[in-house]
Each structure stands twice: as C-alpha cells, then as structure tokens.
Amino acid sequence: MQRRLGQGLWLSFISTPLVFIITFLIFWAFSPGHRFVDPRNLAAIAKLTPDLGVVALGIGVLMICGEFDLSIASVLPLCSFLFAQLLIAGVDPFAALALMVPVGASLGLLNGVLVTRTGLPSFIITLSMLLFWRGVLYVVSGLMPISILPYVPTNSDFAHFLTGQVGSVPAQLLWFLGIAVVLGIVLHLGRFGNWIYATGSNPDAARAMGIDTHLVKIVCYMIVGALCAFAGIMQATRLGSFTASQGIGFELKAVAAVVVGGVSLRGGVGNMLGIALGVFIIQIIDNGLILLQVPVFGVNTFIGLAVILFVIINNLANRQFAEQTT
C-alpha cells in the first residue's frame, strides 16, 4: 500500500498469495507429465472448489467476528433437500433458489440467536445444530438421493445459470469470485466490515463504542446460512441430484481453508483475498497429491501437515507487519 509502512504490510497481505503460487508451481513441476496444469484438470478444480469455497467465504467472515459454525455441513444438504422438494412440488427452479437462500439465512439466524442469547461457545451450539439437522435430514430424506435432472436438465437455463460456462470459465468459479468480491467490499471498505473486525478483536471495546456486537454476529451467521443454501443448490445442480452425503466434512475443511488463508481462530484477523486463496490451496493440494499418486486415503495426512505449516508462515508474516508499522 504505502511505502512508509515498509515491507510489513506487504508481507502480511502477500504471504497467502505466495503460498498459493508456490503450491501451484510445485504441482506443476512435479505432477507426472505436468498433468496438473492440463486445462481439463484446472477446469475440474475450478468447478469443484466453489462447493466448499462459497461456504468457506462466509465462514471466514464469521471467524473474523470471532465465532464458528460447524452446522454448515448439515444446513447445506438440508437446503439442497428442500430445493429438490420444491422442484418436485412444481416450483420454478429460479423461484426455488430465491426461496431457499432466505431459508438458509434463517437457519443461520437461529444459530446466531442461540449463540448470542445463551452466551455459550459457538462451537458447542453449532455442533449441536450440526447433529440436529443431520438427524432431521436423514429421517426426512430416508438417505435416498433425489434426482433433479427431470426439473433442471443439464442444458436448462437454470443449469447454465449456476453451473454453465462463460467462454471457457466455469460459472461456479465466477459465482465464487463474485461473492468473494462482494464480501471483500463489505469487509474491507464498509462500516459493517469494521464492526465485524472490532467485534472479533475486542467485543467489550466494540460495545463501549456503541456497536451492537450481537447483531453483527447474527448477521454473519445469516450470511453463512444463505451461502450454504446457495452452495448446496449449486452442487446439487452440478450433480443432477440431491444426495444425503452432500456437505459431509465441510465443517472442518472450511475451517482449515480459512485458517490457511490467514484468519485467526481468536477472531479479528484475516482478509478476503487470503480466505479465497486458502480454499484453493486446500483444493490444489488435494488434487495435486492425487496426481502425484499419493494414496487417496493418505491425502488428509499431507493436508494436515500443510495447514500447520501455512499457519506458522501466516503468524510470522503478521508479526512482521505489527513490528514494521510502529
């Protein structure tokens, strides 16, 4: 940004992009026949990443304001299930999407109200909601997949809208980038964004300055819920079906992605560029290791190591930033 800040600010903003580029280059260089950069592989990454990515963008914002949401892994398939039910009931897919996003937001609202009213750790509240909604989903869906292809065929307008291509760029990637830009503007340039950081950094100070920290948290939960609905529907459209296994593991993968992207578990720290790249870093490692013929079941071992390594790098960069600006 400004030269007088020295390298500190530069470093804290650039550490995640740097990790991203290095990860990318490593897999480019070492995947057999450079298969990693094969356009088909890159297109697959671009289509798959936004499923988790869209939700993780919301989780990043929520974690900056100091809270967790583990219930995403159940809210997402629940919204996907309800979407399928709406289609079966004859609702137009666009209308169903427009209905489901507010429904997702209200599930987030419920989380937010429970967390702020009870004062219990959000980890506990949302863990309970994770189990609660998963149970509900399994009972009402009977664990059976529901094909939505009769209602949204792959060549329908709705399928193009969510999962088509613009030129050679998958629509999912554009949605992901679009949402990231909007949330980035809210977070970094808007007043509400400053309240999110203040709430996560020191809620007492924020309250003393007249910020309604409960409202800030509730709105962040609603953003996460709305994005869960969107991601669940986007994924179902890509798969052509609701499946009860949608979203499994997202609750922790999203945290891993966001933390790799430089967000602190204690709140108050992080930026949107880092969050967006964090998701891609996790996905690239996943994809790249398989191309390197690491056994599928061993991939998580490396992701675990990578998360620790990247968090150490981020911490060093943030400390540099703090020291250089005084």
């Binding site: 808007g190 007043r191 400053n194 950094s201 020191n202 100070a205 007249g210 602190s264 600006t325 005084t326």
Partner: protein
C-alpha cells in the same frame, strides 16, 4: 457473604455492607453544592446507588468545572468507580440529580452520556488490538463516502491530527494498536474522545500497569486535554500521579464525600494519610473545600 454475592461482578470494589448510614461529612458536601459561577460543567447532587443490600453511593456530590482536571481518589470500595459509571451512563443512579452545562439530564446509557460530550476511557476495554489506529479512533462512527463505503482518507488524516493535538507522534494511522505501548494506547483512546468533541473525559485508572516513562506520557496527554479546554476526571490509586496534573482532588470513602480540596492547598502526605484512615479526624478542617 450473602450480601456481597448479589453485587454485580464488575463492581469488585463495593463489598462493604454498612446498611444505610448517612454520610458523616455532610459539611464537605454542602460546601460543594453551593452555587458557583456559570463555569460548572458537570454537577452530581446527592447521588445514591444500591447494589442489592449494598449502599455503594450514599449521597455523593461531585462537581467538575469547565477545563478543570479533577483527581478522584479513595481506597478500594470507596465508590469512585461506581460514581464515574453513573456519570458515564453505565449505571443509573437510584436517587439524586445530574446537571450538565446547567441543565438537568438523565443518563440511561453510555450513548446518552456520549451525546452530551462525556467520554469515558476504560483501561482494558478501550481499543481493538488487531485494528489500525485510524479504525480504532473512528470505531462505530466511521465516516462514509457517497457510495456508503468507509472514507479511509478522512479517517487517516483526522486520526493523525487528533494524535498530534495530544503531542503524540505515531508513524502511521495504519499501525495496529497491538504494536503500541501502553502509554500510546491510552493516547489513542484519549485522542478518540477529543476528536468527537468531548467536553469531559473520564479516565479510569489510566496509569495502572504503565512504566514510569509511559505514566509521564499519559500525564502529558491530560495536560494537552486541559490546554484545549477539556475537563478531565482522573481516577487513580496513585496520588503522586494525579498530584502533578490535577487542579482539585476529591476523595471518597465508604460511598461518601470525604475531602474536596485544591491541589495547591494540600500535599501528598496529608491526603494519603486521610485516604488510609478513611476519615477526616482532625487533620484538615481548613482545607476541605475548594472554590
């Protein structure tokens, strides 16, 4: 212990339970409440506050004049923390009147107090460590551009001006508060208060846990505030700190006024003796009223 169990957790100092004894030194209170010239800024008359059975403030009178630095002292449990929480709208008084700039006011929330121009700087909860200086100073009151986005340029410029007016030179408005020293943090919190045109700044134990050098910085900030015509209430345990800047010192004991004296009419030893004993005895019949 039953009585003290009802006390809210943040009022750790009000643990005595003396029933409803009237204040002993009605005299000092009467002197203070006497009519003064038009320069009175804040006037609190006969303030009572109960926490359950605990009568924390038993008819305290407290006056601050425009541009005056008042030291508020007293032992733990004397009621000074409760008194300033009433003045900053954090607690409401159960009885008594508050006048600000000559008009009676009701302070139901910190917002009410802030709207009048009373800003309170608490030791620990003042700032967000992960946010920049500029974003801290404008927290909750961010200026926006026509597009509804934060006006970062205005924030940066005015933050640096506010800090400079305190004699505090920091390299950049982008610096994170976590990187500042304790004294600099107090400076940022105070700069925030004066930037929003505070007429009265209440500093709650501003020098606690600071190094000698940082204490000197904070005392300089207080002088800067006074030079700009801002009144300051300076709460402290450390008489030496407040003595070098205060015009007047008010001592509370057991929820009552004990002493109200001009700094130049007394000295540290005399006052610390009174605070330690919690009563006047025969020590200061001559110096207990100011103005």
């Amino acid at each position: 212990m039953e009585g003290s169990a009802q006390v809210p957790a943040n009022d750790e100092e009000e643990l005595f339970d003396t029933g409803s004894l009237p204040c002993v030194s009605e005299r000092a209170a009467a002197e203070e409440a006497a009519p003064t010239n038009g320069q009175v800024l804040l006037k609190m008359v006969n303030i009572h506050k109960w926490f359950g059975r605990v009568h924390a403030l038993r008819g305290v009178n407290f006056t601050v004049h425009r541009g005056e630095v008042v030291g508020l002292c007293g032992d733990n449990g004397a009621g000074k923390s409760t008194l300033i929480k009433v003045a900053s709208g954090y607690h409401t008084a159960d009885e008594g009147q508050i006048f600000f700039e000559g008009r009676e006011v009701k302070l139901r929330s910190p917002k009410d107090a802030r709207a009048l121009g009373i800003e309170t700087v608490y030791q620990e909860q003042a700032l967000c460590p992960h946010l920049s200086i500029a974003r801290n100073i404008f927290m909750g009151r961010e200026p926006t551009t026509l597009l509804g986005l934060i006006d970062q340029r205005t924030m940066n410029k005015e933050s640096m001006e506010a800090l400079a007016s305190m004699g505090l030179r920091l390299r950049s408005p982008h610096a994170l508060v976590s990187a500042l020293s304790g004294g600099q943090r107090q400076g940022v919190a105070i700069a925030r208060a004066i930037h929003f045109k505070a007429k009265l700044v209440i500093l709650d134990e501003p020098t606690i846990a600071l190094s000698v050098k940082e204490v000197r910085e904070v005392l300089d900030f207080v002088r800067h505030l006074r030079d700009q015509g801002v009144a300051v209430v300076f709460i402290t345990h450390t008489l030496h700190h407040v003595f070098s800047v205060a015009d007047r010192i008010v001592v509370l004991a057991h929820g009552c006024n004990l002493v109200d004296v001009r700094t130049k009419d007394t000295d540290v030893d005399e006052l610390s003796d009174i605070i330690a004993r919690g009563t006047l005895g025969d020590a200061v019949p001559t110096t207990q009223h100011a103005r």
